[in-house]
């Protein structure tokens, strides 16, 4: 089982799939974050500490 797990790391297509997942997550996050319609939402979020009581 352990040996099998190790041997997977030489399998090219798995590495490619892993890389694609990583890139998809990365670019998905970027798109979500910088979508124009979300701008106001994030601005509201950034005000949260200032709205909290100053004590």
């Amino acid at each position: 089982m352990k040996q099998e797990a190790f041997s997977y790391f030489t399998m090219g297509y798995l590495n490619v799939i892993a890389m694609l997942i990583f890139m998809a997550v990365f670019f998905g996050t970027i798109v979500w974050i910088f979508k124009k319609s979300n701008r106001k939402h994030f601005k509201d979020l950034s005000e949260l500490p200032l709205k909290s009581e100053d004590n």
């Binding site: 994030f42 979020l45 950034s46 500490p49 200032l50």
Partner: protein
């Protein structure tokens, strides 16, 4: 849709308790650090007491700085900011107190056991198994308190600081549990289940991510809250902070192997660690810029407000040390910096500059608000800032200079193929920088004392019996989320987000660690490694207990200068039965991977009793108590049987008669020592076991029938002849 308006109070008493604990343990961590620094410059400063010896107090210093000082600071900040960001009191006052007192008792247990030599020798995870269990329990209690508070929050949206806290709680729990899987031998001793290269990889996966998720993510959470609060303006870019968060969570976990560059760790793991370390440059600097630019349009605050000075200097140090970290993770740079004081400088720019200054800024921000007063003196806050800043810089510059100097001297090879400098010469050369470092630390402590005075005065002038204020907010009601954009819904689900963050961390860990569990795959068929004999194993435990790994590595790097000085590069086979591994991370003294049979028993005996009798100018403290303390021979059986369970190939006879075999070997060594003029009666003393172990280093692995003990014959001759030239050549 909103629920009904509710009134509530924050639990500020627990914040105050953690703040005071932070201040108290800061003093302890700094003072022990100063003592350790002075011992580099003056070896006599252990006052001939074993529990004040450098190798025992260095773990105490690091544990106090990380878990006592920074730990309590994190908890104070988390309890203070989370209640306010979530608009609710902590879930349970009682559990908060159990967390507080549980954590302080862990610290006390550490402060007692480490100087007494109860240590697993895994850096920043030295504490023995009963304390490991305590840490697990207290951490889970803290987690429960935090998530329960999250569940009863009145603010739907979760600010980025809270994400950083969640990542901290989950990942530190995972790191601690996985790295601490060990089998107890007795009440205060255990062997880790991992051996050699596995143990090295798991330990540095832990060690690196302890820095990432104990000293970075929680402090970033604090930064994202307290800089906007202190500056009175929102963070420069909230979007950047989300990129910062997810990139750190995805990338940090992979970077551990950069602590093991150019060692026997397989190349693929080294390269992986280096590449992911380099990738960290981007998010770290994004985060730093985000913190700094929050002050845009308000830079005058940096001139006027000492709190802002502390916070901004802290973020600048974050940027500097996260620039330096990836730089040091490049294999060729690591070759120069590894094992030197450059690394010590690097961690202190992080610990004193980033964590320390941020903590001070936070304390100055929170404390007067809790006491409903102002700080006693703004001027003293400014003094503190400048003294501390000059202190850190002095410390940092001296240690980086020392590291580069020593690294270059180690690499100097003469035309005859010998190292140009004896090891001890490279130590003597950087000695002045050790004085400078101690002075830098002293300045930092002076700043701390100014703060203590200021804080005490503030307590004195504060109104007595401060009442907790009452606040109001609307309760959250479960809404059908139709009509809301999908990501908003997702964001409300703290549970799901936590699981995602945890998965990101887990995947990286599994992919990196699992392959090395099949360690035998990496050892060629014809290579045979014998386990240590009973007495040698006993000596190994003494080596671990005394903390020899603090100053001596057992890993010869893949570079000519290391071959010339110590012999051929270390192999995986050589440490395959080592529970725990002893590769070390610093060479204050020379590498010991192949010290076996290089000197005779008497050399080692004399050297342990008085290092300077063998190596003139050595800065090693003497270990005379080893010649007085006795070996518990019967107990060795238990040790070997535990190791056998863990896969070390001992025969039944070796385990069952461990005491007899050990006694026989001890008698031989003691007889040799007596003949050479050592006192009688050493055969049951610890020093004999330690000598047996040292003589076995590098002697256990052979290819086929021929004994290679690592080094090719040629280069071992080089070392031999080098050492016979002068008395000081011995330490070569």
């Amino acid at each position: 849709m909103e629920g009904k308006l509710e009134s509530f109070k924050y639990d500020d008493k627990i914040v105050r308790m953690f703040l005071i604990a932070t201040m108290v343990w800061a003093g302890t961590a700094f003072l022990v650090g100063l003592l350790a620094a002075l011992q580099m410059a003056f070896w006599q400063l252990n006052f001939n007491l074993e529990w004040l010896t450098f190798s025992r107090i260095r773990p105490l210093h690091t544990n106090a700085a990380i878990f006592a000082f920074a730990g309590n600071a994190i908890f104070a900040g988390i309890y203070h900011s989370s209640q306010r960001l979530l608009k609710t009191r902590m879930w349970s006052d009682k559990i908060s107190r159990i967390h507080f007192w549980g954590w302080q008792s862990i610290i006390l247990a550490a402060a007692v056991t480490l100087p007494l030599g109860f240590s697993q020798s895994k850096e920043y995870a030295e504490l023995e198994w009963p304390i490991d269990l305590m840490i697990t329990v207290v951490w889970v209690i803290f987690g429960i308190n935090f998530f329960a508070t999250l569940a009863k929050r009145r603010e739907k949206h979760i600010y980025v600081s809270i994400w950083f806290y969640i990542a901290t709680i989950l990942t530190v729990g995972l790191l601690h549990v996985v790295n601490s899987i060990e089998i107890p031998v007795s009440f205060l001793q255990s062997y880790p289940v991992y051996a050699g290269i596995q143990d090295a990889l798991v330990q540095w996966w832990y060690g690196h991510n302890a820095v990432a998720f104990f000293l970075t993510t929680p402090f970033l959470g604090l930064m994202y809250y307290y800089i906007p609060k202190a500056a009175g303006r929102p963070i420069y870019s909230y979007r950047l902070s989300i990129v910062h968060f997810w990139s750190l969570v995805f990338i940090y976990i992979w970077a551990g192997p950069h602590h093991l560059l150019n060692t026997s760790l397989p190349e693929w793991a080294q390269t992986l660690g280096m590449v992911f370390s380099l990738m960290l440059w981007a998010p770290s600097w994004g985060g730093m810029i985000n913190g700094l630019l929050t002050l845009r349009g308000a830079w005058h605050l940096l001139r006027e407000e000492p709190i802002i000075k502390f916070l901004i200097a802290a973020v600048t140090f974050y940027g500097m040390s996260t620039f330096e970290g990836p730089l040091l993770s490049i294999k060729s740079v690591s070759l120069l910096a590894h094992y030197t004081d450059w690394i010590i400088g690097h961690v202190h720019s992080g610990a004193l500059g980033w964590n320390g200054l941020l903590t001070f800024g936070m304390v100055y921000y929170i404390l007067p608000k809790l006491l409903q007063t102002e700080m006693y003196s703004k001027k003293l806050m400014n003094y503190h800032f400048w003294v501390a800043l000059i202190g850190v810089l002095t410390y940092y510059i001296s240690m980086v200079s020392a590291g580069i100097t020593q690294g270059l001297m180690w690499k100097e090879i003469g035309e005859n193929g010998y190292p140009v400098y004896e090891f001890v010469e490279t130590v003597m050369n950087i000695m002045p920088l050790y004085y400078v470092r101690a002075f830098g630390g002293l300045l930092y402590i002076a700043g701390y004392l100014i703060m203590v005075y200021n804080v005490i005065k503030t307590f004195q002038k504060a109104p007595k019996n401060v009442e907790e204020k009452t606040y109001q907010a609307y309760a959250l009601v479960p809404t059908s989320s139709e009509g809301e954009a999908p990501h908003r819904r997702l964001e409300g689900m703290a549970g799901l987000f936590s699981v995602l963050a945890f998965l990101a961390v887990l995947v990286g860990s599994v992919i990196e660690i699992v392959p090395t569990l099949s360690i035998h795959k990496y050892v060629p068929q014809d290579v045979k490694t014998l386990p240590f004999t009973a007495l040698e194993q006993e000596g190994r435990d003494i080596y671990v207990k005394e903390g020899c790994y603090v100053c001596h590595s057992q890993q010869i790097l893949k570079h000519e200068s290391d071959y010339a000085r110590y012999g051929a590069a270390s192999t995986i086979a050589e440490s395959m039965y080592d529970h725990p591994f002893q590769w070390g991370s610093k060479r204050t003294g020379p590498d010991l991977a192949r010290v076996g049979k290089k000197y005779d028993h008497m050399w080692h005996y004399s050297h342990m009793i008085d290092p300077r009798s063998m190596v003139d100018k050595s800065i090693m403290p003497p270990y005379p108590w080893l010649a007085e303390k006795k070996v518990d021979f019967m107990h060795i059986r238990k040790k070997l049987s535990v190791l056998k369970q863990l896969g070390v190939p001992y025969s039944d006879d070796e385990v069952g008669n461990a005491d007899k075999h050990a006694e026989e070997q001890a008698k031989e060594i003691a007889a040799f020592l007596e003949e050479k003029g050592a006192p009688k009666g050493l055969e049951n003393k610890q020093i004999v076991a330690l000598i047996a172990y040292l003589q076995a280093l590098g002697q256990k692995t052979s290819v086929g029938s021929s004994d290679v003990s690592g080094a090719p014959a040629e280069s071992s001759e080089v070392v031999q002849s080098g050492s016979s030239n002068t008395k000081s050549g011995g330490e070569e």
